[in-house]
Assembly symmetry: C2
Homo-oligomer: 370 residues x 2
């Protein structure tokens, strides 16, 4: 059959190291499960800036548009902190999200039983945790116009004389499509969606609430829908995260709430994400997969990084892009087995100890468990 | 000496109940510590809407402007959920903040030793926690223009045909004044400020970072300043909150992060807040004090509410408005003693048990401990 085309963008910091382990996993599935991938590599973030002066070259953008799925490592690092806003590593990632129109960012926050003691939360609060945050990813304050920093010289009361502006802007259509994604996912899980905004202070939040309710009432009346203010949402995530199944929220709230939720699990190095767009001609959604963790420049190049989040991102690709749910489950089980065996990268070495391994050794152990 | 003028706005839900206990405490300080208060009462939120059709009458606004300090209970409730945005209970509170120009919202997140086991976090992560979030309160997306919901009919791609807009807008002067408040407070505490924004995706965040750095370099070079992206801030608050001393952030991030921080302590019913503006002619800052918890309509009128957050808000008033630091400390110690004695409102009755009391009994116990 036609090979699946996969574009790999390792990016910066620990990105290349963790991606090297994913490549081993891809090779294993090709050799042993008859899957056929056409893999190519390219640059994003600081690595792209170093080579081309931009954090994502047009040519790379075109290849991403044409790929069945993109796998991304991580972007950013102190080396690039002083760069102009328009060429910062993050802009490369944001361009991919925007131009591929990846409106639904799926961020599972799952607590692995073998690692529950890693959480700063009590074991009984997080053990078995399995929530899915669906974050809108192509609109809101991340992309709204007008934006920028301007001088405000004719305002004598403004010490400093500048003003910074961003615009939170959502259309009803943008809200409806991400709401549909959330309801669809909920149907395959716990059948509950909690939508979060600040409708008590923001009109865009009122529109958000009304449109999510509209999609529910007209298309998914059998899924349980609740609404919560985002500040209360942050509290409830800390207090009793297991009350949630699927959470749907906007780009900025999603950024913050999904990171808080990720940290509940205690093991950021374990968490994958998928960013999905509309179906392409071949029926597959446009898709980008990436670990939730960042580029971790402090440990880059030392073989200390945990490749599991990136490997599990590939498992999400198997499930959501290639309809290979069995292969995805096989990979996820291999990860769980390795963890249950006590194999640990340094970030997972806690009070309990374990068998400490390097990035590459962790990849090898997972392959061995497959 | 001149009495201190105090305007009491109990508001909705449990507001009146908890405020009744504060009044007892005020009376005690008048009778026993020679403090002289001129106390008056008025309406805010749903209670004001019921009486006047607006969540804050002009007359009440004028009295708040003239008062040395305002004490507020809580606003909102399901009864008012269907009201138009412009007259929702929250608008009363937002009008007070805006027109009194209360730009610095102080939200201490302190973990009381007797209650550390209430937290969903592990005891060693939160015991002794004492951080102070300084949230900008009069600007940003809460008040920025343009805002609203509009029809977007000439956009055939927008299913639903509407668009919701809010504007994040900060001037350099608005950022500098709240940064100064944070640095001043840090000097009296751990001498560390962490500023949080999303400078990697928002220009208003870049301005925020630059202006906070400017105030630091020019006016507070001896206070330690760090910057953190707000999503990482949410993570770090969950992971290792004790790394922070003072956090300074904008109105919307502050709303979410301070609520997450509050929940770390496990006892929302304990947490006060102060909202301060510029000094008045008498040298005192414009000021409003309120508990962090909401109106809790589900338990309103049942004598179950915990009055401590509201009582500690009055302690903050003693400290920040009336320069009565000794009286404030005396009140705080009385609260700690009552907790150490095992006296508990229902929200504080956990696995450990304790002596369960009503709202009014808790007030009486605190008076007795004074
Ligand atoms: C790197 C950054 C631009 C990005 C974001 O803010 O969306 C990151 O925090 C994320 O959540 O993927
Ligand atoms: C009631 C609401 C308007 C308010 C806010 O969003 O600021 C509340 O959440 C708070 O934090 O004081």
């Amino acid at each position: 059959s036609e090979p699946y085309s996969l574009l790999i963008l390792p990016g910066d910091g620990i990105g290349p190291e963790v991606m090297a382990e994913v490549v081993k996993v891809i090779d294993w599935f090709q050799a042993n499960r008859g899957l056929n991938f056409d893999v190519s590599h390219d640059l994003v973030g600081g690595a792209a800036y170093d080579a081309h002066g931009v954090p994502l070259a047009d040519d790379t953008m075109a290849r991403a548009q044409a790929a069945d799925a993109v796998l991304l490592g991580a972007v950013g690092g102190p080396k690039y902190d002083q760069l102009d806003f328009s060429v910062k590593p993050e802009r490369g990632l944001l361009r991919l999200r925007k131009e591929m129109d990846l409106f639904a960012n799926l961020r599972p926050a799952q607590c692995f039983d073998a690692l529950a003691d890693f959480s700063s939360l009590k074991r009984d609060v997080v053990a078995g945790l399995d929530i899915l945050i669906v974050r809108e990813l192509t609109s809101g304050v991340y992309f709204g116009e007008p934006r920028g920093i301007h001088s405000d010289d004719n305002n004598p009361e403004n010490e400093g004389g500048r003003v910074g502006i961003n615009t939170q802007r959502y259309t009803s259509g943008e809200i409806r499509r991400v709401a549909r994604a959330a309801f669809e996912l909920a149907k395959r899980r716990g059948n509950k969606v909690c939508s979060m905004e600040k409708a008590n202070v923001m009109e865009s939040g009122i529109l958000w609430r009304e449109e999510v309710q509209w999609v529910h009432d007209n298309e998914y009346p059998d899924v349980e829908l609740t609404h919560m203010y985002a500040d209360n949402g942050a509290m409830q995530l800390v207090r009793r995260p297991q009350q949630f199944d699927v959470i749907v929220t906007d780009n900025l709230f999603g950024d913050i709430l999904s990171d808080a939720a990720a940290m509940l699990t205690g093991s950021l190095g374990m968490l994958p994400s998928a960013s999905l767009g509309a179906p392409m001609a071949n029926g597959r959604p446009k898709a980008l997969y990436e670990p939730v963790h960042g580029s971790a420049p402090d440990i880059a190049g030392q073989g200390k990084a945990n490749p599991i989040a990136c490997i599990l991102s590939f498992a999400m690709a198997l499930r959501y892009s290639f309809d290979q749910g069995d292969a995805a489950a096989e990979l996820e089980q291999a990860v769980e087995k390795v963890l249950a065996d006590g194999v640990r990268t340094p970030d997972l070495m806690g009070a309990q100890g374990g068998i400490q391994v390097s990035t590459a050794q962790m990849g090898d152990k997972i392959i061995a468990a497959l």
